[in-house]
Amino acid sequence: MKHSLFRPAEMAVLLAVALVIVPLLFYLPFWLPALVELMLLLRACLLLRHSRLPGLAVLLPLLVLAAAGVWLNLNTLIGREGGAALLILLLGFKVFESRQQRDWQVVLALGFFLSAIPLLFDQSPWSALWLVISLLALTWAMLRLAGDIPSGSARTAVQALLLSLPLMLVLFVVMPRLPGPLWSMPHDSHTAQTGLSDSMEPGSISQLVQREDAAFSVVFAGQAPAVSQMYWRIMILDDFDGRRWQNVHGLQQETVQLQGGQLVRYRLTGKPVRSRLPLLEYPLQAPGGGVLEPGRLLRLASDSDDAVRIDAASLLGSHYRQSLSQSDQDFYRRLPPGNPASRQLAMQWRMQSQDDAGFVHEALLHFRLNGYRYTLTPPLLEGDNSTDAFLFSTRQGFCEHYASAFAFLARAAGIPARVVTGYQGAQYNPVGRFWQVRSSDAHAWVEVWLKESGEWLRVDPTAAVAPQRVSDGVSQSIPSLQPAVPLMGSRIPGWLLPLQQSWQAAGFAWQQWVVGYDAARQLNLYRLLGLGEAVDAAAVLRALLFGGALGLLPLLWWWRRRPAMAPLQVGRNLLVAALQCHGIAILPSDGPLDMMNKAAHLPKDVRVLLKQLLKEYAAMRYRHAELPARQVQAWLGQVRRFAQQARKQRRHS
C-alpha cells in the first residue's frame, strides 16, 4: 500500500542499471557482474512481493565477503578493474537499502557514472552504441521515478538526449585533450597481448593466422602498390637456437643506403604492440613520434598501446645496401650444431652455384619442385634435428617453417641471413576506401645479404611453395583453414560482403574521427577555423568555466527568488509526506480543507493536531499577505515534529 505508488518506477531503475553493467561481463571476472545482476533480480522480486529488506547486520558482512572475493581475484581494489569491480558491487548492495525515492535517485546517479566505465576497457563503436542504450534507459527510469507517465517518458527520454546532442558535440570538439588517452592505466596481468612476438618457433604465427581481428589499416596517398608487394616489416630475428628464432639485438647501429624504388606515402592507423608498428619495406625515414632502429624497423617513443596514427613514406622495391664487417657477417652466419643433412644439402648447392644469388635460386627451386606442402596443421617436428626432419621427411609447414629452414640453409652455406616477421598483403575496403590488414595476414620471410652487391635481398620461400599466399592471401591458399576461420574472404556469402565492408568502414571512420581525435587534430581544427595558436587548452578551459558560470546564473536567480514562499511550501510538503506515512495520498491539487477531509479517519489526537496545523497554514497563506517570519518558523517546527512522529509510527507498524 505504502510503496505501491513508486513500484513501477523502481523496477525501471533496476532494469536500467542492469542494462548498464552488461558490458562489464566481458571485462571483469565473469562471476562479479553476474553476481550483481543476480542481486538486482533478487531486489526486483522483493519489490514485487513487498518483502522486508535485509538489515545492515546481514548486508555488511556480505559486502566485506564480496569485496574480499574481488581482492583475491584481482589483487587490488583500485585501478581500472578493481575500481569498476568495487563500484558495481556497491551498486548491488545499495539497492538492498533503497527504500525512499531519494535512495533510488542515488542508484540512478551511480548508474549514470557506471555507464561510462565500459569505455575504459573498449572504445569501439559497439561500446558507444551500448552507452547510448544505457543512457536512454537511465533517462527513462529517471523520468519514471519523477512520476512521468510510462508511455510519455520513453519519448521524453529520447527528446532529452537529442536536445543534449549539440552540447555534447561542442564539448567533444572543444574540450582540451590530454596528450595521450585520458585513462592510460597500467594493464592488468590477465589481458593477453596480441600480435607478433619477439621470437618465432613452429606454431607461433599459425596461431595468429587463425584470428580474424584487425591488425591495422592503411590509406595510401596515391596509387596503392600491388598486394604481392606489400611486405609490412615489424621485427628482425637474427639468432637461431635449433628450434626458435629470436632477436638478440646484434647490431647497435648501421649505415644503410636505399637505392631506386618507388616512393609510396601512406597513413597507417593501428595499435602498437610493444611500441612497434609495421612499415612497408623499406621506410625512407622515421615517422613522427618514433625512431628507425637498425634494420629499418619502427619503434615508437611512447609505450602506450592505444591506437595511433602515423604518416609514413617508403621506397617500395628499393635496394637495401649495407656494408657488413667481417664480424657482422659472422654474426648473421651463426648456427647451433645439429641438422647434418641440411648442412650437407646447403654445401652441395654452394658447390653447384656460382654466386650467392645462384644459391638462392637453387634453394627456391628445391622448395618448389620437391613436393612441399603449405598447411596450417603440419606434423610435429621433434628431436634436435628439426630442420632435417622438416626438409627431408615431413615436408609440410607454414611460413615460419619455410622461413626458418631457408635461413638455416643460407647460413649453413655461409651466406648472412635473417628472418623477418610482419604482415604480407592487405584487403581493400571499397566502402571506406582504405586497406585493412588482419592478424591472419601475419607472415615470416627471410633476408639474405649478397656479398657481390652488398645488399639485403628479400627472399620469401613460402611464395615458392604456395604462390597464391602472396597474391591472394592466406585463406585462398589453405583449404583446411576455411572452417576454422568462418569470417574469412571466400567463406562470406556474396550478399553479406558489402555489409561486412560497411562495418569495417564504420570502424575505421570511428577510429579516425572519434577515438583518434587528439590534441594534434584539435589544434589543426582551430587553425582551420583561423584561431591559430591563440586557442590553447587553458583558454578553452577558461571559456568553459566562464560559460558554465553564465549557465548557472539563471539557477542563481531562481534560487534567490525562491525563498519568499519556501517555508510554507516546505511545511506543506512535510505534511503531505506525514499523511503518506499514515497511508493517505495527497494530490498537488488538494487544499488545506481537502487534506483535512481526507484525514478524517485518523486517530483523534493526530487529527486534532493536524487540524490545528492546517488551520494555521491556511491562515498564513490565504489570510495574511505579509508573513511574520517568527510565526512561520514556529509553525514549521511543529510540522517537523508532526512529520517525525508520523515516520516513527510507520516504522513501528
Binding site: 494530490l587 498537488p588 491539487s589 487544499g591 491556511a618 490565504y622
Partner: protein, 299 residues
C-alpha cells in the same frame, strides 16, 4: 451572518435534499450575480426562486417567456395621458427586486437581449429616458434543456451575463418521500419569514466583496484560467471577466462558510457552476471540470 444561515435553513426545508444547489443559489445572489437554472420541469426551480425572494424579503415578479412576447411586455411602455397631454411610463415586470424569467429560451432573441441588457446595465432606457431598476436586482432564469423544438438558445455572449448556471436534478429517494408526505409547498412558502430587512442584503453583498484574497489564491485562480485555455477539449478558455466572476463567487461562498478569507476549496466549490456555461459545456458535462480541478496543482 446569523440571518444568512437562518435563510439557508429555511430554504432547505422548502427544497429537500438539494443543499448544495441551494447554497450555490444563495452564493450567487450574495455575489450580486444572476442565476440560470437549467432543468426539466417540476423539480422545484420556481419554488426555489419563490423561496429565495421570500426569505430575503425581496419584491418578486414572474414572467413566463413565450415566442410572441415583446420587449415592452417586460420592460414597460410609455402611455399617452389625455388629461395632461404627456406620456407616462408604465413599469414592466422587470422593475422588481427578483425577476423569475421562466423558460427564457422560448422568447425571441429581441426579448432576450432586452432583458439581458437590463441585467447588465441595471437600468432600462425607453424613448431616450433611463429608468433605474430597484436595488438589489436579480434575475433567475430557467430553461428546459430537453425541449429544443421552437426555442432560441442563448448565445454564448449572453450566457456570460449569468454568474452561475446550476441544475437541481431529481431529489434522492428519502428526500422525495419526505416531499410526498410533507406539507404543500405553497403553504410552506406562505409561512416563510423574511430573514433580512431593509438593506440587509446590500450590506451582506458589500461584506462579501471585502473578503481577503491573497496573492497565493489569485495565483490559483490564474492557474485554473490558464488550464482552461490550454485544455484542448474546450472550445475556448475562460475570459478575464470569468476570472473576476470566479473570485466574487468564491468570496460569497467563503462568507457562507463563515470565513473572512478565501481558500482554494472555495474556488473549487463554485468552479463548475461558474465555468460550466462559459466553456460551452452542456448540462451535466461537469466531469471534465472536476478532472481539471484534480489536475491543476495549488501553487
Amino acid at each position: 451572518m446569523q440571518s444568512l444561515s437562518l435563510a439557508y435553513r429555511q430554504l432547505n426545508t422548502l427544497i429537500l435534499g438539494k443543499s448544495r444547489a441551494v447554497r450555490l443559489a444563495l452564493t450567487c445572489l450574495i455575489a450580486r450575480g444572476h442565476l440560470l437554472i437549467e432543468d426539466v420541469p417540476g423539480v422545484g426551480k420556481t419554488t426555489l426562486a419563490h423561496g429565495l425572494a421570500a426569505v430575503l424579503g425581496l419584491h418578486y415578479q414572474r414572467v413566463q417567456f413565450t415566442s410572441d412576447l415583446l420587449p415592452a411586455d417586460i420592460l414597460g411602455v410609455n402611455i399617452y395621458q389625455r388629461e395632461t397631454g404627456t406620456f407616462r411610463f408604465h413599469q414592466g415586470p422587470v422593475f422588481s427586486q427578483l425577476l423569475l424569467a421562466d423558460e427564457i429560451n422560448r422568447a425571441s432573441p429581441k426579448v432576450q437581449s432586452a432583458l439581458l441588457e437590463a441585467m447588465e446595465e441595471r437600468q432600462v432606457s425607453i424613448d431616450g429616458e433611463s429608468h433605474p431598476l430597484p436595488q438589489p436586482f436579480f434575475v433567475i432564469a430557467t430553461q428546459n434543456p430537453s425541449e429544443q423544438l421552437g426555442t432560441f438558445p442563448l448565445p454564448e455572449s449572453q450566457l456570460d451575463r449569468f454568474l452561475m448556471r446550476i441544475s437541481l436534478g431529481y431529489p434522492a429517494a428519502d428526500a422525495e418521500r419526505a416531499l410526498l408526505l410533507g406539507q404543500d409547498r405553497r403553504s410552506l412558502l406562505a409561512d416563510m419569514t423574511p430573514c433580512l430587512q431593509g438593506d440587509g442584503l446590500l450590506q451582506l453583498q458589500q461584506k462579501a466583496a471585502a473578503l481577503t484574497v491573497t496573492a497565493d489564491l489569485a495565483d490559483y485562480v490564474l492557474a485554473l484560467l490558464q488550464a482552461t485555455r490550454q485544455e484542448s477539449s474546450f472550445l475556448s478558455g475562460l475570459s478575464p471577466r470569468a476570472g473576476l466572476a470566479l473570485l466574487s463567487a468564491a468570496r460569497a461562498w467563503a462568507m457562507l462558510e463563515g470565513r473572512d478569507h478565501v481558500l482554494p476549496e472555495d474556488v473549487k466549490a463554485i468552479f463548475p457552476a461558474v465555468a460550466g456555461h462559459r466553456l460551452g459545456l452542456t448540462g451535466d458535462a461537469t466531469a471534465s471540470l472536476t478532472a481539471l480541478l484534480d489536475h491543476v496543482a495549488i501553487p
